[in-house]
């Protein structure tokens, strides 16, 4: 039977097993919306802004590992989606974004709501397509999902002119796709893996440093087994939290700009570094010239271009992290190689000494609510198992430092692009994927206002997200930099016209609580978490002057932290 292009779009999504499409209608996609209306297989979630659609799909993808799907109209629909596409791109999140386009004969004509969506998104996608023939829709969708979810994942944009969605053809969804120009299956070189294992066990001061690639590659289990077997200290990047249980003694915390003293000192003094699914980002390495001066480096990554990009490594291994780590375990088993335990004992003594500095301590006797305390209490009440999304700023760093993630895919934040406005819509995607789980959005009073309209989406779909706003009345992270590096000239980092968040939340049909005293923090969290069926907005009025410590200033090495 012949179907219209719009029906083929829906059938293709169905064939890919898509549960949700996050979108917003408009002229160029009305045929597709009409096709949505006539079916019940794929659920459409109506957001309030296209940026929200992309972040919601992104949150869904981060929590589930499946591709998030977005549908927006041409022109402003597509441009509004760009921030979310770039956010997904920077963190390698699988996503398929369908953008409507003006009819083919108008392309290039400056037609109403025309933008060159393929051109605008090109630098922030893994790949993109313009479909010019209805017969190409099915194969293009197959390719798009294949590209988005394999190798190093990323967003793929499919631009479809309106007339193509009205044309008809036979629908045949390809069961398999091969592309001569794209072959993501890479196996780690076994010789390299053997050499690396030898180097690894010879270490006297080893360090395991892992990033978002371990989460994306579903390799947390292998990583945990290997790290436990070796008995080595392990640190995670901001994107890698949850890959190794935070409550385990071998975990030394996050590293980098706001990493722990023990993680950063350990990095600085290690003699062998095992980097897994991490990309030596500038927020992690600090000054490259001072980075890991004594270390031989092993780097495992699925993307060859991540290897030796910023830091020259000694043993590169290109491959899927899970498979490569499995091979490490196999080599260890087969050869019976063992780590140098006496050296390791000395190394751990050194690490424990660093750890005893207690670099994350804060004034717990304060009369004011300390943001760190709020996160610690949340951790206790949710046992480190909640899904936590965040926005960008100090609250994000405190969430990363104090929540203590024990499982992968629970910590959902914009690391690469650092997109304020991400947290609330991302929580929507996570809560839809896991309706019975606790989903918390940790945010700041500035960030939340960037996508606050999505509170309306939460109402429409009955999403019981818990919003934890650490309200310090400042763009706190900006204020912190101005305090440290601009002699306290607080240019534009202060809001003197904040909304009443409780009233605002109520006007969206939810409830809100403002908390001003430390003694009320735990009770408010308990109450919010107990209200399983509703969204609760907790507005914590926190100490305005609190800073994120430790901190590595720009240009410094990892051993040159500012401590509390």
């Amino acid at each position: 039977m012949e179907l219209t292009g719009a029906d083929i779009v829906i059938q293709s999504l169905k064939a890919e097993g898509v549960e949700f499409v996050f979108g917003y209608p408009g002229g160029a996609v009305l045929h597709i919306y009409d096709a949505f209306y006539k079916q019940e297989d794929v659920q459409h979630i109506l957001v309030r802004h296209e940026q929200g659609a992309t972040h919601a799909a992104d949150g869904y993808a981060r929590a589930t590992g499946k591709a998030g799907v977005v549908l927006v109209t041409s022109g402003p629909g597509a441009t509004n989606a760009v921030t979310g596409i770039a956010t997904a791109y920077m963190d390698s999140i699988p996503m398929v974004v369908i953008t409507g386009q003006v009819p083919k004969h108008l392309i290039g004509n400056d037609a109403f709501q025309e933008v060159d969506s393929v051109g605008i998104t090109r630098p922030v996608v893994k790949h993109n397509f313009l479909i010019e023939d209805v017969k190409d829709i099915a194969t293009t969708f197959k390719k798009a999902f294949y590209i988005a979810t394999t190798g190093r994942p990323g967003p793929v944009v499919i631009d479809i002119p309106k007339d193509v969605t009205a044309e008809r053809c036979e629908f045949n969804y390809p069961s398999e796709i091969k592309m001569r120009s794209y072959n993501p299956t890479v196996k780690g070189h076994i010789g390299q893996i053997k050499r690396a294992t030898e180097l690894l066990v010879s270490a006297e001061r080893p360090m395991v440093y892992t990033g978002g690639g371990v989460i994306l590659g579903d390799a947390a289990e292998q990583l945990t087994t290997l790290t436990r077997k070796l008995g080595y200290p392990i640190t995670n990047t901001l994107m890698g939290l949850g890959a190794y249980p935070a409550n385990d003694r071998q975990f030394v915390g996050m590293l980098g700009m706001h990493g722990t003293y023990e993680a950063n000192m350990g990095m600085h003094q290690c003699d062998v570094l095992l980097a897994v699914g991490a990309r030596f980002d500038d927020r992690v390495t600090g000054n490259l010239e001072k980075f890991c001066p004594d270390a031989k480096i092993i780097h495992i990554d699925v993307d060859p271009s991540s290897i030796s990009k910023n830091v020259k490594v000694d043993i590169p291994i290109v491959g899927h992290v899970a498979q490569v780590l499995d091979n490490f375990l196999k080599v260890l088993d087969e050869t019976g190689m063992e780590p140098n335990t006496s050296a390791l004992e000395k190394w751990w003594a050194q690490i424990e000494e660093w750890r005893s500095q207690d670099c994350l301590k804060y004034d717990s006797a304060s009369e004011l609510i300390k943001p760190q305390y709020v996160i610690e209490q949340l951790h206790e009440l949710t046992k480190g198992d909640a899904f936590v999304t965040s926005d960008v700023g100090q609250h994000q760093m405190w969430a990363a430092q104090y929540y203590g993630f024990n499982k992968p895919r629970r910590w959902i934040n914009s690391g690469g692009l650092g997109t304020m406005g991400f947290g609330m819509p991302a929580a929507i995607g996570v809560q839809l994927a896991y309706p019975d789980e606790t989903v918390v959005c940790i945010t700041g009073e500035a960030s939340i206002q960037m996508c606050i309209q999505e509170l309306s989406t939460c109402k429409q779909y009955g999403l019981p997200i818990k919003v934890i706003c650490l309200n310090n009345g400042y763009m706190g992270m900006v204020r912190q930099w101005q305090e440290f590096f601009y002699e306290k000239r607080y240019a534009m980092s202060y809001f003197d016209a904040l909304p009443d968040f409780v009233a605002l939340t109520e006007s969206y049909g939810h409830s809100g609580i403002q908390i001003t005293r430390p003694a009320d923090v735990r009770g408010a969290l308990e109450e919010a978490l107990a209200r399983k069926d509703e969204l609760v907005f907790l507005d914590f009025i926190t100490d305005k002057t609190e800073n994120v410590y430790p901190m590595i200033p720009a240009g410094a090495g990892l051993n040159e932290m500012i401590l509390v």
Binding site: G119, S181, D303, S305
Partner: protein, 162 residues
């Protein structure tokens, strides 16, 4: 160092802009870029001349390989290879200059492909150095217009890239 990178690329709309966009977004140099379809109409062959440190060249190769439209890539620099570029050049040629220009064209194995009372249009091929040398040799002649195709290259011997 200067590198010549040959790429087989899907002959799709937008493929060229992906390559060009990669170079500008990552601030890599392009000295020249030439592209045209091959014997297989679904493929284009692109030759890029670029410069950079070893690390940058390594990244350029890896980043190009990552583009979904790139089917195959070869850095020709290390191999024995042949480089060619085509130049069309229009010069003033009046009176005594006409003989002088003609002589130079012969020395450089070029040819005059169009003539007016006052001008010659010359075609010349070779590697970049030869074309530069030819322009230098013309220093006393006034050059009206220069068009260069950008470099293309192919490896020597029976080894074929494709």
């Amino acid at each position: 160092m200067r590198h010549i990178i040959s790429i087989l690329l899907e002959n799709e709309s937008g493929a060229l802009s992906r390559v060009a966009g990669l170079f500008s977004a990552r601030a890599y140099n392009i000295e020249s870029l030439s592209v045209a379809p091959t014997d297989d109409p679904s493929l284009s062959r692109m030759t890029i001349v670029t410069t950079g440190t070893d690390e940058i060249i390594e990244q350029i190769n890896k980043q190009l390989n990552k583009l979904v439209d790139v089917v195959k890539l070869m850095d020709m620099t290390a191999d024995v290879h042949i480089e060619r570029e085509l130049m069309l050049i229009k010069v003033n040629a009046t009176d005594g200059e006409r003989d002088e220009v003609k002589r130079l064209v012969d020395i450089f194995h070029g040819s005059v492909i169009d003539v007016t009372d006052t001008t010659y249009t010359i075609e010349i091929t070779g590697n970049g150095d030869k074309l530069n040398a030819f322009m230098e040799a013309l220093s006393s002649i006034s050059i009206l217009e220069v068009v260069r195709s950008g470099l293309i290259g192919i490896s020597r011997g029976d080894k074929a890239f494709g």
